[in-house]
């Protein structure tokens, strides 16, 4: 006879679980649902292209278009090359790519509950698996974007430093922060669409107060202050700089923000675990 696990369902059961235990349980759930994450990933990532003739080549199209447009803008002379040490299109392209990476993490987490809406009411499975499936999907397409961007570096004769190998580590806080915000909005979007819309729009606007399409040497004091207090500045710019300069953007600020992201993520993850069932029963 196979071993039989006793499962108990009680009100506020997850709430009574300690903080540390929640994280342990969630980590275990993720590990045990590897197969599910992989199957769902396969379904959504590849099946999306099953009805198209070009098929999987489509995922190269979007980043290619991005590059073409920045190169074109460069040719018009519209972009005033501030002194950023590298050709301006490279600076902007890598910067916006990093911003896209962050927004992708946010959007993936934001879809955690809604992506599985049809399933959630019918089968019981650890929903945190969906966070990782969505994130994996995002990373897969990001990798292709990144590859093409690095090719562009070569075209513009910028040699990345060997420190580029630290890129995954430097970019990790972007995941923590993006997922922290996204997990909360994924729940809010079920019970109050307005609030999650505001957050989503606000997140899009954040890009303009982060120095990704301009350099941080702006004259305005107000802009300087905003940039300084915007945590995204440190996280996004460090991920960009490690690729084009091989250095971090203001290391102290970066490490503080990175730590905060991790803490925020842990809190948000716990909140998700404790509250998701209260939200799910309102999805009917």
């Amino acid at each position: 006879m196979k071993p039989q696990q006793l499962t108990i369902y009680k009100p506020n059961q997850r709430h009574e679980l300690g903080f540390l235990k929640t994280w342990a349980v969630m980590a275990r759930n993720i590990l045990s649902s590897r197969e599910l994450i992989w199957q769902l990933f396969k379904r959504d990532f590849f099946a999306a292209y099953k009805k198209s003739f070009l098929g999987i080549t489509w995922i190269f199209m979007a980043p290619l278009m991005g590059i073409v447009s920045w190169v074109f803008l460069n040719m018009t002379g519209m972009l005033i090359p501030g002194d950023v040490g590298v050709p301006y299109p490279v600076y902007v392209l890598i910067g916006t790519t990093m911003w896209g990476l962050f927004m992708g993490f946010f959007n993936s987490a934001n879809k955690t509950l809604s992506a599985g809406q049809a399933l959630v009411m019918q089968v019981s499975y650890p929903h945190e698996a969906l966070l990782f499936k969505e994130t994996a999907e995002h990373l897969a397409s990001f990798l292709i974007t990144l590859l093409m961007s690095v090719l562009l570096l070569v075209v513009f004769k910028v040699t990345p430093s060997w420190k580029i190998i630290f890129f995954p580590l430097v970019a990790l806080p972007l995941f923590f922060l993006g997922a922290a915000i996204g997990l909360v909005t994924s729940m809010i979007s079920i019970v109050a669409v307005d609030i999650s819309r505001i957050i989503t729009v606000g997140m899009g606007l954040m890009m303009y107060i982060t120095p990704v399409i301009y350099s941080n040497s702006v004259d305005s004091h107000l802009v300087q202050a905003i940039i300084k207090w915007n945590p995204m500045t440190y996280l996004v710019c460090s991920a960009r700089n490690i690729i084009i300069y091989g250095s971090l953007y203001k290391p102290t600020g970066y490490f503080v923000c990175a730590m905060l992201s991790v803490i925020l993520f842990l809190i948000s993850w716990r909140l998700f675990y404790v509250s998701e069932d209260k939200i799910i029963e309102r999805m009917i």
């Binding site: 506020n12 379904r43 099946a47 209260k278």
Partner: protein, 397 residues
């Protein structure tokens, strides 16, 4: 007592004082959701045992225990909380009061083929669906042959599921869900779909699973409940109205559905030249195998020769279970001018336990004109055998 035996007799589902509340008002429900969310943010426990405005108990103080080898039928009119109870049992959301303990793996067929991707092939979908139900790749590999054979989709394995007929999709979903070898199997209205051959295969498979698992079965079909279950829980507006014998529960349930609109559909009409008709039944409650006597007193304005009288007996699903026709028995019925009295012996009634309704139609000689028509106006209660799915029960073999 050895290990296997202990397992067979062990309780696998235990439901104690379980209640679940829902909110009637959508806006308020959303507001409560945000309130609960912010309370959790500050680590304050929700008092889920109290009703807030517009909330109601969708399930109220439900108790039962189920062991391996037992099967429980859940019946009740729409909105009585059957599906909510299944969702609690499968862990989709937690109860607001009480406790549910489940030992082992739960296989739930609340919706067939949840998560099928239409553009993926049957083969890909088997792996996907298996993963959703918590199977490992190795497990799916070992069950693959069984799933394909049981669903009977051999030739379509590499075709996208969108090309499948709806019956094939249901078959595939059922096959995957039952391949898990669950300790507890939850079935929601599942046998309402699929053709008769597949339904029989399902019954057989359910019987197999039942040897080693507990089954909870939701259905509106009392025949299926009687066929599969050995105990029954009758829900009414979230409350357990009855728990125990299948026959008793079905009797109460059928009584309820009859009361909820069964009466409104009955009518009685007479057409010219008939003025009035009176029905006198010797009895409307009979034992299995007894006979009912009907005396019809018809008042007509003129004589109508050689009529056709049809008396039809409907069951609760409005299917015809018995019919009498005077022409078939070569009995002539003439109506006089004035009053005519007709005597009919109906029976012996070898029918299953339950409520039935009479329909009486009298046609004139040409069979084209109806002069008397009653539909479901008179209810007949039969105290017959409970088990078995067909209405007509042979007195002996």
């Amino acid at each position: 007592m050895d290990d296997t035996e202990k397992n067979v007799n062990s309780v696998v589902v235990s439901v104690k004082h379980v209640s679940k509340k829902f909110c009637k008002n959508l806006k308020r429900s959303m507001a409560y959701g945000i309130m609960d969310l912010s309370r959790n943010l500050f680590n304050i426990t929700n008092d889920s045992g109290r009703l807030r405005r517009d909330e109601f108990w969708a399930l109220d103080d439900i108790n039962f225990e189920l062991s391996r080898g037992e099967s429980l039928g859940l019946i009740g009119v729409n909105g009585s909380g059957k599906t909510t109870l299944l969702r609690l049992l499968s862990g989709i959301f937690p109860p607001d009061k009480g406790e549910i303990a489940v030992r082992g793996r739960v296989g739930a067929l609340i919706a067939v083929g949840a998560g099928f991707h239409p553009h993926m092939t049957g083969r890909e979908n088997i792996y996907l669906n298996g993963a959703i139900l918590g199977m490992t790749r190795k497990e799916i590999d070992s069950k693959f042959r069984y799933i394909v054979d049981f669903a009977g989709i051999n030739g379509f394995l590499d075709a996208p599921v969108s090309m499948y007929s709806s019956g094939m999709r249901v078959r595939l979903g059922f096959s995957i869900a039952t391949a898990v070898d669950p300790d507890i199997l939850l079935l929601d209205e599942i046998l309402a779909v699929g053709d008769a051959r597949f339904r029989n295969k399902c019954y057989y498979r359910i019987g197999e699973i039942r040897k080693n698992a507990a089954i909870i079965f939701v259905s509106h079909s009392v025949d299926q409940i009687a066929r599969i279950c050995d105990r029954c829980l009758l829900l009414n507006r979230g409350k357990a109205e009855y728990f125990g014998e299948v026959s008793e529960a079905i009797k109460m349930y059928v009584g309820e559905t009859e009361a909820n609109g069964g009466d409104s559909v009955g009518f009685e009409k007479v057409f010219e030249p008939v003025k009035s008709v009176r029905f006198d039944w010797s009895t409307l409650t009979v034992e299995y195998g007894e006979t009912v006597q009907l005396v019809m007193t018809v008042v007509a304005e003129e004589a109508i020769p050689d009529n056709m009288l049809r008396i039809v007996l409907y069951d609760h699903k409005e299917s015809v279970v018995a019919e009498w026709n005077n022409r078939r028995m070569n009995q002539r019925i003439d109506l006089n001018k004035g009053t005519t009295t007709l005597r009919v012996n109906l029976g012996p009634l070898h029918l299953k336990n339950g409520e039935y309704r009479f329909g009486v139609v009298l046609n004139d000689a040409h069979g084209t004109r109806e002069i008397i028509r009653t539909f479901r106006q008179y209810a007949l209660h039969i105290d017959g055998p409970v088990q078995g799915s067909s209405a007509y029960q042979l007195p002996s073999l």
